[in-house]
């Protein structure tokens, strides 16, 4: 094998690397890379199991999944799952990260000493194109040909030894789903790992030459492509049928919506109950003190009000996991694409936006399935306009208090139902208009074409679904335990100081009350008094908190939206125009610390959450102002 200057230089950097950083880790560092849909993550899950952690690469929106693999001889290997890429030409953030990690150019991630290159053996010729740039790096590489079971079943075959010979690197034919052939992967991880010595490599920048090279290698390895996936073709004739396909799509949408909205309610009640009971127990054990109040009313209730959404988060990700792993999500995106394109978005934005009706937090977390960064950010920015379940109790309270219950269409519709529906439509319309404005200005993505690969249908595995849920639950709970905890404590303190005669003041005289009075001139034009002002401030922890706050101001113990006393008290404090203004304010404002925190995490910076918060606040203020003045 003859070498050029460029790759000789690349090779030298590899040789010196197992030094300092490797000694610190004390184990081999191995990267898993492969094209999308090659089963790369399935292999990663197989060999690392529960010993995984997920973080963001600093400064970018790409998630970093790392895990430990325990080798048969007891040693450990540190595995990093790189994003799925078709090439190493750095155009997207994903490809940049993959290239930088593999060449050791990221300070936060030491360069791997070996690579597991995962390719789909049922589509080997095309997938081999990625082997060229990977082998050119000079890092010891195992060519992992995945989906061996599919290849066999559909009558494909290849000569593994001949392939390894051509590529100058060991090769393994495995099925990560079935756990077949993993011993070869472990053998490679535990072994000496020679540097690759391919017989020939193409010019990497020339895609047709790379493809021709891949074809030659496949030919030398006597690769026979398998028959087309018969079941996938059959299922697609159903799922992409002009009539049946649309009906199935609608059924899936309704099922997702129903489940996260209605059927999870008992689970959420159970979580709520657990927090209430455990809170009461702790309260009964501790002596009466300010600390007890902070713990119970601040921490317990505050964190509890966020964790109550955990069942919704888990259920949504279970659904998305099944849809994505089975291959249906790509078809759903295809069906929804035309509609979403009208507002400048794409098919993959559909499921996150639907989920946002339950809660914007998991919805924003689920935008990771959208590869196009601009589409993803646009989806994140409009998701909080969808009427989430935290707005529901607030809407209920105000609508019950201010809208007289009269029939509109016989027994089917009442004025109150119409008002509620109107609020849902309002959020949706503003989301659509915002998406259009964004996509025709700052987030215009005119040039990036919409390319969607349709993977073959497969049964989702329990392990993959389970790990996915665990992963998302971890991300969600970590935030509840940090940002949300901090904010609830701050809010509690602001409602309990300064002391009067050694005791916490009435809420109207507390710091929160003072702030409420201070902002009264600002919110007066919206028809709100200082009491509503305090409610608005506390509702930034979570929207429905305003109910508890108003209850506390009016001196009630456990207020709920159905409470007649609370409705009456509110009716005295708020003019009808002010009530409409308050509804509109809640429809538009981003009063949710959790959402701000998740947007910051997912967009890797403060720019987008700040822009979003400002935009939504301005819109909320202007909308409420207009409503109050028109209806006064």
């Amino acid at each position: 094998m003859s070498q050029c200057d460029g790759c000789a230089a690349a090779t030298t950097t590899v040789v010196e690397s197992p030094g300092k950083r490797g000694a610190a880790a004390g184990s081999t560092r191995v990267a898993v890379i492969g094209p999308p849909n090659s089963g790369k993550t399935t292999l990663f899950n197989r060999i690392t199991g529960l010993r995984q952690k997920v973080a963001n690469f600093p400064g970018v929106t790409v998630e970093q999944h790392t895990g430990l693999a325990v080798l048969p001889d007891g040693r450990e290997a540190w595995i990093i799952d790189l994003p799925g890429v078709y090439s190493l030409t750095p155009r997207s953030e994903d490809e940049q990260i993959a290239l930088d990690v593999l060449t050791g150019q990221r300070g936060d991630t030491p360069q791997p000493q070996a690579v597991l290159l995962v390719l789909d053996s049922t589509n080997l010729a095309r997938h081999l194109m990625l082997a060229a740039p990977i082998l050119a790096l000079g890092i010891p590489t195992l060519i992992v040909l995945n989906m061996a079971d599919d290849l066999r079943k559909r009558g494909g075959r290849l000569d593994l030894a001949a392939l390894a010979d051509q590529l100058g690197a060991p090769a393994a034919l495995i099925s990560a789903r079935q756990g077949e052939g993993l011993d070869q992967v472990y053998k490679f991880l535990a072994g000496t790992k020679p540097k690759p010595a391919p017989k020939e490599l193409p010019v990497l920048q020339d895609v047709p030459k790379c493809r021709a090279w891949a074809g030659r290698v496949g030919h030398e390895a006597r690769y026979r492509a398998p028959a087309p996936p018969e079941w996938t073709r059959r299922l697609d004739r159903l799922f992409l049928h002009p009539v049946a396909g649309v009906l199935i799509f609608a059924a899936v949408v309704v099922a997702v919506f129903q489940t996260i909205f209605n059927y999870v309610a008992p689970l959420m009640d159970a979580v709520k109950w657990t927090f209430a009971v455990s809170g009461n127990w702790v309260a009964s054990v501790l002596p009466e003190s300010l600390f007890r109040s902070l713990l119970i009313d601040g921490v317990w209730k505050g964190v509890g009000s966020v964790i109550v959404f955990l069942p919704q988060v888990l259920m949504l990700f279970l659904f998305i996991g099944i849809l994505e792993d089975s291959g249906y999500l790509a078809r759903a995106a295809l069906i929804a694409d035309r509609t979403m394109a009208r507002v400048g978005l794409q098919g993959k934005s559909f499921i996150p936006l639907l989920s946002a009706y339950a809660c914007a937090v998991p919805a924003i977390m689920s935008t990771r399935t959208i590869e196009n960064k601009r589409d993803r950010i646009a989806t994140i920015l409009i998701a909080p306009f969808m009427t989430c379940s935290a707005r529901f109790p607030v809407y209920t309270l105000i609508v019950l208090a201010f809208v007289p219950n009269r029939p509109v269409l016989g027994a089917f519709l009442s004025t109150q139902t119409v008002a509620m529906l109107g609020l849902y439509v309002l959020g949706f319309v503003v989301a659509v208009l915002t998406a259009r404005a964004l996509k025709s200005s700052v987030l215009r993505s005119g040039r990036t074409p919409f390319l969607l690969e349709m993977p073959s249908y497969r049964w989702p595995t329990l392990q993959s679904l389970g790990l996915r849920l665990l992963d998302r639950a971890g991300v969600f709970l970590r935030r509840a335990g940090t940002v949300i905890l901090l904010v609830t404590v701050i809010l509690w303190i602001s409602a309990h100081v300064p002391f009067v005669d050694g005791k916490p003041p009435a809420i109207g005289n507390s710091i929160a009350g003072t702030i409420g009075r201070t902002i009264e001139p600002i919110i007066k034009p919206l028809g709100f008094n200082w009491k509503i002002g305090i409610g608005l401030i506390t509702s930034f922890a979570a929207r429905e908190t305003i109910i508890a706050t108003l209850g506390a101001i009016y001196g009630m113990d456990s207020p709920d939206p159905q409470s007649l006393d609370l409705q009456k008290a509110l009716h005295q404090d708020l003019a009808p125009g002010g009530a409409v203004a308050l509804l509109i304010f809640f429809a538009f404002a981003m009063q949710c610390i959790s959402t701000i925190a998740v947007v910051r995490r997912e967009t890797a910076g403060w720019k987008w959450p700040l822009l979003q918060f400002t935009y939504m606040s301005v819109l909320a203020y202007a909308g409420a102002f207009a409503a109050y003045h028109i209806l006064r």
Binding site: C4, N123, A125, M129, V203, Q205, D236, L240, P449, L451
Partner: protein, 108 residues
Amino acid sequence: MPLDNYFRPHHTETMLQPSSNNGQPEPLGTLLDLRRGDAAILDRIDLPGEDARRLMELGFLPGTPITAGLSAPGGDPRVFQVDGSEIALRRETARGVKVRLHHPPRHP
């Protein structure tokens, strides 16, 4: 065979090879002219360099056979079978992919 210039950028014009008609003129159309089940040979990609490269990495290379598959309701986007995979393209992208048709376009 020598390994040349791994990480040095190459010019992209080599990728957009013109069709080699060899005196047997076949009618040239775009992917939009294909109905479900129709097959054609890719001739060239009339799209900006980056987009063309993305398509090529997915198997849309000059000389490759392409078969039109199913589509979303309304016909857009449509799935194309190419190089062992099924890739969905929107109309605006499919329009930029020029193909040599085995049969003249059926649309009026």
